[in-house]
């Protein structure tokens, strides 16, 4: 059966969902700023910002996560609590790029040699309801990174905005478990036709021209290229791009201790921060922005592809949109492909 959900029933549907699940969706913090957050009330859900600042990775891999709490006495320590998932989770309104990004991180966190329980427990208990992108932005280039505005892979339920209703495709076992939900109606042929039209229209909108084919091999030959001397210059070394990136997954673990009681916390870290690679001796193997920018791009387009066969970029455009100095990863790829630095200093738009 083909489903749809009328928008007038949307809040009721969310209310039902909240009774059985922990729900995570984009919430607007202030005009123009949205993040994925745990939802308390249905009206908090706001799907208007196509690319929320913080991506859905926050749901599995929060910026700051208490791993456990501990207490120390004079001679021994004891762990007093451990983080656990209590209820099944639903992510609603993640875009196809964010969903692909989850699978990219998953390859690192849930591997053959090691399983990161903090990530895995959450991932296992989560149903993903994706929202298709009818209106991609000009900074979207998912079609260049192997995705697309209607990419369904990784989604349990795929949702298409038809104006007055959402067309719903229940794609996996987890998704099909929702088929008995109240408010789900049968979609008619007109709905299905409209959904197809929207998909066709959107597919022409995202940029396919970013030359990622063979990028890994090209970068192999470019480790000491003068390209890096120039490309990093405008980067001021903040963590915007890496923190907002849905595939960046570096973290730092610290103990926060007061009076022999404390917690072990893991926090996002960024390879663009000088202290990221600073060693105890005081030596820093990535002493300048040149090495740090190289690391950021090499990890996405060389090291990760070597390990997992795909670039670690989903073309969401966050790093372009929110960079304080307009470092544009698309242009970085173009220049790397052309192996040139000429023209990097700006051009007429």
């Amino acid at each position: 059966m083909k489903f749809k959900l009328d928008k007038k029933d949307f809040e009721n549907f969310l209310n039902d969902l909240l009774e059985t699940h922990d729900l995570f969706a984009p919430v607007q913090l202030t005009e123009g700023v949205s993040v994925f957050k745990k939802i308390e009330r249905p009206e908090e859900v706001n799907l208007n910002q196509l690319v929320p600042q913080k991506s859905a990775k926050e749901v599995f891999f929060p910026q700051s996560e208490v791993m456990f709490r501990f207490e120390m006495t004079k001679h021994q320590g004891s762990i007093v609590s451990k983080h656990q998932i209590e209820r099944e989770r639903v992510i609603l309104g993640a875009r196809p790029c964010d969903v692909e990004a989850i699978s990219i991180i998953e390859k690192v966190f849930v591997g053959e040699d090691y399983t990161d329980l903090y990530f895995f427990e959450k991932r296992k208990e989560t149903t993903i309801i994706t929202l298709a992108c009818n209106q991609p932005l000009t900074t979207c280039f998912c079609s260049s990174t192997g995705g697309g505005p209607f990419r369904r892979e990784g989604s349990d339920i795929f949702m298409i905005d038809l104006g007055d209703s959402y067309r719903l495709e229940l794609l996996t076992q987890k998704g099909k478990a929702f088929s008995k939900k109240r408010f789900f109606k049968e979609a008619n042929s007109k709905d299905i036709e409209l959904a197809k039209e929207l998909e066709e229209k959107a597919s022409h909108k995202t940029d396919r021209s970013i030359p990622l084919e063979g990028i890994e091999k090209r970068l192999d030959l470019m480790v000491e290229s003068p390209f890096w001397d120039r490309i990093h210059e405008k980067c001021i070394g903040c963590g915007v791009c890496t923190f907002l990136c849905p595939t960046c997954h570096c973290f730092d673990i610290t103990d926060e201790v007061v009076n022999l009681k404390g917690q072990r916390v893991r926090n996002w870290d960024s390879c663009l921060f000088p202290i990221y690679s600073l060693e105890t001796s005081g030596h820093n193997p990535r002493p300048t922005g040149r090495e740090r920018t190289r690391q950021r791009l090499m990890h996405k387009f060389n090291y990760y592809p070597k390990n997992f066969g795909k670039v670690a970029c989903v073309g969401c455009g966050r790093c372009i949109l929110f960079c304080p100095v307009q470092f544009d990863i698309r242009e970085a790829i173009r220049y790397a492909s052309a192996k040139r630095t000429q023209g990097m200093e700006g051009r007429p738009r």
């Binding site: 913090l29 700051s64 001021i236 698309r330 700006g346 738009r349």
Partner: protein, 314 residues
């Protein structure tokens, strides 16, 4: 006109090797924006631009290029940062050459984005007007309705101490007397102020874009990065966020040139300049001091005089 003169001056400085490098603004991929550019050849100067979207304070790059002879494009506020840094002896080897442009005040891209529905694909400036285009809209807006708050209150638009001034000095009359966020903040009770502050800071992701964008933040080791002693934790607790932002603002006391780079850099749209502007006001009221205006007067918090008028210091 100004853009053409700027290119000519930059070309001259590179051609006769007065400088190794020009730091200026260029066009890049997004509308409503420019990007910092680093130009080393006379031909490269053709990509220099000047318009109301030149929002970055390029002075923050001078720390990185201290080994070179640099020519840098500065607005009034940016020139003030250079002067403030000179007083802190940051340019003991060689001072950068300042190519000053009297500023027409800068357009707040976030304000502009909120005023239209849909993605802005193109924005062109013509005199006092902005022509803004999207896929299914086209509007003409008044430039002055979309200026950064710090620019509305600016009364130092003409760069001081510039080695070259491109264009004529402008009249120094602020459009607003008080920064709107400061005015609102002052009206609040202490409890309301704290609530407002905490709400703004709660969006912080500790990316430190505000710190990196600021030319005055150049400590070899920022207090947030120090592990011995550890002044602050790395997570997002409200006390750590408050601590970071209060200390960041306080470290700017008597040093902030009101360029607003911190607020512009923030991806989470956190209002930051109400703090720094309030501090600037206090410093002015207490000591009659404004950052980067008088080259011979050291910043009040970096000097001590036994004959200090202020009672609280004795």
């Amino acid at each position: 006109m100004i853009q053409q003169k700027l290119r000519e001056k930059a070309k001259e400085l590179l051609s006769n090797k007065t400088v190794d490098l020009i730091i200026g603004y260029g066009n890049w991929t997004l509308p409503l924006r420019t990007t910092p550019v680093f130009i080393r050849t006379p031909q490269g100067t053709e990509s220099l631009v000047w318009n109301s979207f030149c929002e970055n304070n390029l002075v923050t790059y001078l720390h990185k290029f201290s080994r070179f002879k640099v020519g840098i494009v500065v607005k009034g506020c940016d020139a003030r940062s250079v002067l403030a840094l000179s007083l802190e002896k940051r340019f003991s080897n060689q001072k950068p050459l300042l190519i000053g442009i009297p500023c027409q005040r800068i357009v707040d891209r976030k304000k502009l984005k909120k005023a239209v529905k849909g993605e802005i694909l193109k924005a062109v400036e013509q005199g006092e007007l902005l022509f803004v285009k999207g896929e299914d809209f086209e509007v003409t807006l008044k430039r002055d309705d979309f200026l950064y708050s710090v620019c509305q209150t600016c009364n130092h638009r003409t760069p001081l101490q510039a080695d070259f001034l491109i264009g004529d000095p402008v009249e120094e009359s602020p459009l607003l007397d008080t920064h709107p966020d400061v005015r609102d903040f002052e009206k609040k009770s202490p409890e309301e102020r704290w609530t407002f502050f905490e709400k703004e800071m709660s969006r912080c992701i500790r990316c430190y874009a505000c710190r990196e964008a600021c030319p005055m933040c150049y400590c070899a080791e920022c207090f947030v990065d120090s592990s011995r002693p550890k002044w602050i934790e790395k997570s997002l607790s409200s006390s750590d966020l408050a601590f970071y932002h209060i200390v960041r603002a306080y470290h700017q006391t008597g040093r902030c040139s009101a360029c607003g780079a911190c607020e512009r850099a923030c991806p989470m749209d956190i209002r930051l300049t109400h703090l720094t502007q309030k501090l600037n006001q206090e410093v002015k009221d207490l000591y009659g001091f404004e950052t980067g205006i008088q080259p011979e007067i050291p910043p009040p918090l970096a000097t001590f005089d036994p004959k200090d008028e202020q009672g609280f210091i004795k």
